[in-house]
Symmetry: C2
Subunit: 622 residues, 2 copies
């Protein structure tokens, strides 16, 4: 209750009535995250008329909807908690929402085996590291066995027993998981690893009672100590990835070196603002560690007076702006394209996308201080360079955007130092990154080193020979990179986040509830999401959930940088005789752009901009 009252004191959400508090208690941690977004957005409310409209939409969310959304998996799985414990792995999958296997628990240790050779620029998916040898003969000072993290990681199912760690303790919680107040699906995300990252996310765990519940399940102690730390330091000296930060274990990793991980669908659809901890990570290279105190942004190039600005100068000399914007990887939903014909690249599902309230200064304002003129017809592009560097070739990550995008009063391009009210994390570009709203993620350069106005686009690999799409007849042997423009604004897209593919759906109440997101490039708002439960024969318009805090109303012609979450309860499956349903969604943006029906005709060798209808097959239970 304490945290909930904290939210109420902000005076924003009127729907937090006492009667709802009990139900909301279990999700108070998630509320806390949203509260930080509110705080970041509150300043915006004071100065911007368009924010007022959406603040009002936000505070008018019906109470019941909030319980539904914030409770997320918990509400959905109440029934599962009351049913007998799953006996087989197969049955377990049917109970867990999401067909994706639980994400392998990430080690929070920084120990990595040294790389065999410098990593190639094109990221490869790597198999998990082999398990270390068991250490069952070791005992702690209380006579309890000592386990390695690798041993703990093998215990992720009821059959193998479900183990977790908290600080140095190892716990077998197999008998507890069904009783977890937050639901089975949430606690299973921690299976085989540490509960700490989840407890940080869902802060209702920060109570002595919770430790009191956990302690009786302790079975041993985690191996660790001085030797492990020394080993980590030695590895860091030769491995450019050794100092990468720890990531939240709910991520579904798509490659480890460089690290790329996406957000599971059920978490994505749970909130219009994606919590920082679970915001997808897309790294092209090892994470650079840039010292904020000594940081200097360089601005130099054609048609501009050279500048060098410290982070403090950026914060004090320029007006702060906040922008609620979605960032999406160009390869989001690539895995579906590979089903048509194999494509190279990270095999993203629909979770390489997220939405945050970004805080920083306008690129336009910085360029104006450098006296870059709109009338300079020579300068056509603004190039960005990051601090991230290829360990082998020393190539620096770079990208560019057209001048008009950088200078337009309406395009809100930011040099951001904040993400949802927090300083940027190492994975998201600390201390300063570019956020180009409405443009594919690859142009929002992280760990920003230099801004270069130029007559030409960025010469970098990622601008010139990547993130471009071609005719389905063009393959690696025939591609002419120069013949297509670099992707900037992506096309309209949408995805079903719930139910996940393969989920068993009960038709007892004659309805299926679908949830998902829709988004388009260029600030084109979403005007409609159509959903079909019969593979696209008939369509129902989904309910568009209120815009994210700070976002303009639905259907805006410009400035709609954030996605639109939607949901619909479909009764279309009534009377069906098929054992499966093909659920489909497609969105329409304010330019009345529609998604293409099928993937084949938009297939491209890099597997980018897959915005065909999103299809999810689910099993019917009578």
């Amino acid at each position: 209750m304490v945290r909930l009252q904290g939210v109420v004191r902000l005076g924003q959400p009127r729907w937090l009535l006492p009667a709802a508090s009990a139900a909301l208690n279990e999700t108070a941690g998630q509320m806390e995250l949203l509260r930080s977004c509110y705080t970041a957005t509150a300043r915006n409310y004071q100065t911007s008329a368009k924010s007022e409209a959406s603040a009002s939409a936000w505070s008018s969310w019906p109470q019941q909807r909030v319980i539904q959304l914030l409770g997320a998996g918990a509400t959905l799985l109440a029934a599962a908690m009351l049913s007998p414990a799953p006996a087989t792995a197969k049955k377990e999958i049917a109970i867990l929402p999401g067909s994706k296997p639980p994400a392998p628990a990430m080690s929070t240790s920084k120990i990595h085996p040294p790389a065999e050779k410098p990593q190639p620029v094109v990221p490869a998916e790597e198999p998990a590291a082999p398990a270390a040898s068991p250490s069952k003969d070791l005992r702690d000072d209380k006579g309890r066995p000592i386990y390695t993290r690798e041993e703990v990681a093998k215990h992720k199912t009821p059959r193998d027993r479900i183990w977790v760690t908290y600080k140095e303790g190892v716990y077998d919680i197999t008998e507890f998981v069904e009783m977890h107040p937050g639901g089975l699906s949430k606690i299973m995300l921690a299976a085989g690893g540490s509960v700490e990252p989840f407890w940080a996310l869902y802060q209702q765990h920060r109570k002595p009672e919770v430790l009191g519940i956990l302690e009786p399940y302790r079975i041993g102690t985690l191996e660790g100590g001085a030797a492990a730390a020394a080993s980590a330091a030695a590895a860091a000296a030769v491995d450019p990835y050794a100092s990468d930060p720890a990531r939240h274990p709910s991520f579904i990793p798509r490659s480890e070196r460089p690290y790329n991980g996406e957000t599971p669908g059920t978490l994505l659809a749970a909130s219009p603002i994606t919590p920082n901890e679970i915001f997808f990570v897309r790294n092209h290279l090892p994470v650079p560690h840039v010292d904020a105190a000594s940081y200097k942004l360089k601005v130099e190039g054609e048609g501009i007076r050279s500048l060098e600005l410290s982070l403090e100068e950026l914060k004090s000399r320029f007006r702060k702006h906040t922008v609620t914007a979605t960032i999406q990887c160009s390869g989001n939903r690539r895995n579906e394209m590979s089903l048509v014909r194999h494509v190279k690249g990270l095999s993203w599902d629909q979770g390489a996308i997220g939405t945050a309230v970004w805080g920083g200064v306008r690129l336009r304002d910085v360029l104006k201080v450098g006296r870059l003129s709109e009338d300079d017809m020579h300068v056509r592009h603004i190039q960005f360079e990051g601090y991230d560097k290829d360990p082998a070739s020393e190539e620096i990550y770079g990208a560019s955007i057209p001048l008009h995008k950088a200078l337009s009063l309406y395009d809100d391009v930011l040099l951001a130092y904040e993400m949802n009210g927090q300083p940027l994390s190492a994975d998201h570009g600390a201390p300063l990154r570019v956020v180009v709203p409405g443009v594919t993620g690859a142009r929002s350069v992280k760990w920003l080193r230099r801004i270069v106005p130029s007559s030409s686009e960025s010469p970098s690999h990622w601008q010139q020979r990547d993130y471009k799409a071609f005719n389905p007849s063009v393959d690696w042997d025939s591609v002419e990179w120069g013949s297509a423009p670099a992707l900037q604004e992506p096309p309209v897209t949408s995805a079903i986040c719930e139910p996940a593919p393969g989920t068993s759906v009960s038709l007892a109440d004659g309805e299926i509830t679908l949830r998902g997101y829709a988004w388009s490039g260029g600030g084109r708002g979403i005007i409609r999401v159509d959903v079909s439960a019969d593979g696209g024969k008939s369509w129902t318009a989904a309910k568009l959930l209120p815009p994210a805090p700070g976002a303009p109303p639905h259907g805006s012609y410009s400035g709609a940088w954030a996605w639109t979450l939607w949901e619909v309860s479909s009764a279309a499956a009534e009377g069906t005789s098929s054992p499966t349903l093909e659920l489909v969604c497609k969105a329409v943006d304010s330019s009345y752009n529609n998604q293409p029906d099928s993937i084949g005709p938009i297939w491209n060798l890099r597997g980018i901009v897959n915005n065909a209808w999103h299809r999810v097959n689910v099993k019917l239970e009578s």
Copy 2:
């Protein structure tokens, strides 16, 4: 040769070598039209870097391509001219390019039967007026028979004989058509009507020799005189459409009152700039006649100092800008949508689109003189009112665009008084119209009366309850107009202009040549056009023809207001055993938006924004 030399003197097209002159002679008229566009664009070349790039692209057109394009049907039909005269109507259709029946010849007389009642706002397609009684017993002073226009209009095929008129003369040219230097298809556009509008378009006819060729075919005299004029004046007094201007007979009319007519596909694909005379006409109401000398534009509303500007003041007080922009009707390609399920509206084929070089002043500049501020967060829209008025309800035509579009330095919204270097014609909005590049035609208000900055959109029928699209499940009994935004930027589209549906195609040389256009809203350039000859199974990238004069390079992210013409020779039909081929085109814009595969899922009750793949079935001749 005289006219060709005229073009050469402008110093632009270097490809006009003497060797090409003979071949070009027959199309010199079309050249003349292009020349006027050049003149209009020439000023632009002096001041704008982006124009220089395209001027260079334009002048580098290969000589052979110019002959092909400007010669249009002539080249294609050379073979037909050498073959025996067609004996049957069926055979004739196979020879004429384009499956559309020749456009009914429009009367140049202003005599119309009085309207039974004031015309409804929603335009209706009307049948042609019934033919008047014959007058074969009348003779002129030389004893030749006197014919009415209606009698002449019955003679449009070799079987019925092919008649045309020139001034007061009636000619039977059945024996001449195969010898026409400009090709059979061109002269057949005049069959049953006057040759004069065509001779105005193809000015090589303005030579005494041409009349010398025509005169021997004279068979009579056209009925006319004082009585007809009196009758026209009487009709004008009661009929709001009686003073509508004459239209070019090559138009395919879709309604007469109000007049709506589209450009045939073969003429569309022939030139990147559409000649004014054949630029599609989309009128919602009777054409108002506004006196240019006494014209005053009113600017008044919220957040602006009221202005009243004469045409002369607009021309002298503001800098002139030219913008090459495509205008497309929201209902272009509606006829295909009606094949899925009937929709209300004009049954446009793919010809409700055209491209011109518009000359005028920037709306932005006028608003700035009125001191409208970008910081005025109250004003969100710029409303426009026309002089055209519903004769029954007196409702004025109106529309609006978002403020950011009106004020952006990059959006080029014009108050235009010129079209391809000529003053606006009555049908195209004389003396002043709005041209909103990248936005659907309905917002480019013609006969502009008033500009009104406002916190709300135009209250007009056409903004509030028309030009919006809904889910395919929404029909007239369930539509909620307020639930969808008014169409502004249309989605990416494309069409095959040649061959026309049903055309017989010879596979003797193993190739089919397709030509067409592609365009997208919002200034998003076309980056690719994919063409299929097997219904969409396999795709070939078409060749994009050089940008229109004044347009930026292909694939531009912004400011690409003009369409892209394309062509491709496909060999995909080899080895086919089917008697028909399904040709398909789809375009990709610089936001990598694709066209949807099929029409059903984008069907909407008003039949607008049909941008599904364009499909054309042709017959194969072995």
